[in-house]
Subunit: 338 residues, 2 copies
């Protein structure tokens, strides 16, 4: 299988990106990675760290930065490592998909304009995986790509999130919950009340009703549906709280005298395992669903390990053909409505 990797996106690019690609090809027999980017920068890193033939560098002369405005960047930087990877993916069906740790907005825009939307999908969505307390997985759709939504879009997010949970994690009949400000039917804002009725009538998803943001980490659902603004707030509140508690814990230990310091020392492996449970680099990247190809957004601060995981994620999603899955359910659901 052939996967494309944007060589320049991410805080630790290009080094960690290249090392991630090497890690991926070395742990799989049937994988080739094509890295787009400035050949004079990328190739020496590859050569210094890898002697095999399963990594190819494709020259791209421009780089989209985090400061670039998405629409302008995509339009003007056609020969950027990101846009080039997406274009090659669209043009050549032998590529399974694309991984990029670059500018999220630009990646979404480019995926939409270069790779193209699946016909019938109202708006593509960003689907990061959250860990739960019980070691299970949760996807929150949408997590920031679409801030103003209508019920139809949330219906499509529910459908795509379900297909994703099945393709990526093998969950059969994923439980789909609607993030709301109360669990009873009838609760919510205009959007969630209308969406509730629509989701209830969809025969192709396993809708379990409203869920509250408080229960997301406790495995209350496999797929949590919301508009991208709410998804962004939920995601960032969760991240911020985790960071805040770890900071508070550190401060308390610092001010807790010798006893606390010895306690903390003894607890070190425990705290380390806790940190790894919460670590984003341990999780999959965010899949961008609803476009004709598999596009995975790696975290901006990705290391070689997370880049490698994102490449493996593309492989898995291609093997289980998530794009075809979405198209099938969409066709059935349209059939049901007719």
């Amino acid at each position: 299988m052939k996967v494309l990797l944007d060589g320049h996106g991410g805080d630790n690019s290009p080094l960690e990106n290249v090392l991630g690609a090497i890690k991926a090809v070395e742990s799989s027999n049937d994988l080739e990675v094509y890295i787009t980017g400035k050949i004079e920068i990328i190739e020496p890193i590859v050569k210094a760290n890898y002697s095999g033939s399963k990594i190819t560098v494709i020259d791209a002369r421009e780089v989209i930065t985090n400061e670039d405005k998405p629409t302008i960047a995509v339009r003007e930087k056609k020969d950027s490592s990101m846009v080039k990877a997406l274009r090659l993916c669209r043009e050549d069906d032998s590529f399974a998909g694309v991984v990029s740790a670059g500018n999220t907005g630009a990646l979404l825009t480019a995926s939409l304009f270069v790779v193209k939307r699946i016909k019938g999908i109202s708006r593509p969505c960003l689907t990061p995986t959250w860990p739960t307390v019980d070691g299970e997985k949760l996807v929150v759709v949408d997590s920031g790509a679409n801030v103003d939504c209508k019920p139809l879009q949330l219906m499509h997010f529910a459908l795509m999130g379900s297909c994703y949970m099945t393709s990526m994690y093998g969950v059969k009949h994923p439980r789909v919950g609607l993030i709301n400000n109360g669990s009873e039917k009838g609760k919510g804002c205009e959007l969630t009340r209308e969406t509730y009725d629509e989701l209830e009538n969809m025969s192709d998803i396993n809708f379990i009703g409203n869920i509250e943001a408080r229960d997301l980490l406790f495995g209350c659902a496999d797929v949590a549906v919301c508009d991208g603004f709410v998804g962004n707030v939920a995601l960032k509140s969760t991240e911020g709280t985790a960071i805040a508690i770890i900071k508070l814990l550190k401060n308390s230990i610092k001010n807790g005298g010798l006893r606390a310091k010895i306690g903390a020392l003894l607890l070190k492996p425990t705290l380390k395992s806790l940190k790894s449970t919460l670590d984003v680099s341990e999780q999959a990247g965010g899949a961008f669903l609803g476009v004709e190809k598999i596009v995975v957004k790696a975290h901006g601060s990705s290391t070689a390990t997370s880049i490698c995981k994102c490449i493996e994620q593309v492989v898995k999603l291609k093997e289980n053909d998530v794009v075809a899955g979405i198209k099938n359910v969409l066709a059935q659901s349209r059939g049901n409505n007719e």
Copy 2:
């Protein structure tokens, strides 16, 4: 000063409510508490625990439960402990305000219909205080009372939140931030983009621009403005994450062998102080702003300590006259616009 307390609202009522009232009058010379509720239940608890004359029980024959539909409960249970407390407060200016730990929706509805809205305020809002990592305070307005909002309502939340931070915590020129999915101007959904422009033009608040949910616990602002749906998601995500991390930590300790257990034992006082920083009962109640009287919503799981704090909160807000403060700024802001 005279404060009214709903004797029956809350999971631990009436016992903890009564004990909270006793705690409050015993720690202040100039305070009387009037408890509404079934006299045959409340009075024996008072008599068994208190011999002074600063607590009065006012008979009310009905109780609004958490299962009651707010509008119906308020209309049909006119002689409930909650509605009676609000009615007495409206009719008799010698009462400083009301504390209730009961059904939030019913309290908001009753405040609106019985106490009445401040003229010119589009919609009242719920204002709970959040702790920050640095030991400061933050209010998130609105935190759940109004799920579908327009820019005018968010402008009023900003204004009321500012007055509240000044009256309650003595913060001069509180920094007002708009919760958004990015910090740059121009980011956001329709509501936040429009609201940004309006807040920027308000001369009576200290608007500092967009803030992200990730930074709420880090003191990025004194007042965080959002619609009640988003406020609810931010609040509940934060709560859920805190609970999840504590659970994960406990599990890790449990599975971490003897070393982890000894470490945890040594760290016990440290973890306890961390828990108290995060404990809702250590925080003030949620003030319901924008009505003609001071109404404070105590947490549903309130203990005597938190009920006592909420009573003291009413006293403080009355001493610094938050209702007059809101009216003044509103009048000035109207003057500015004319």
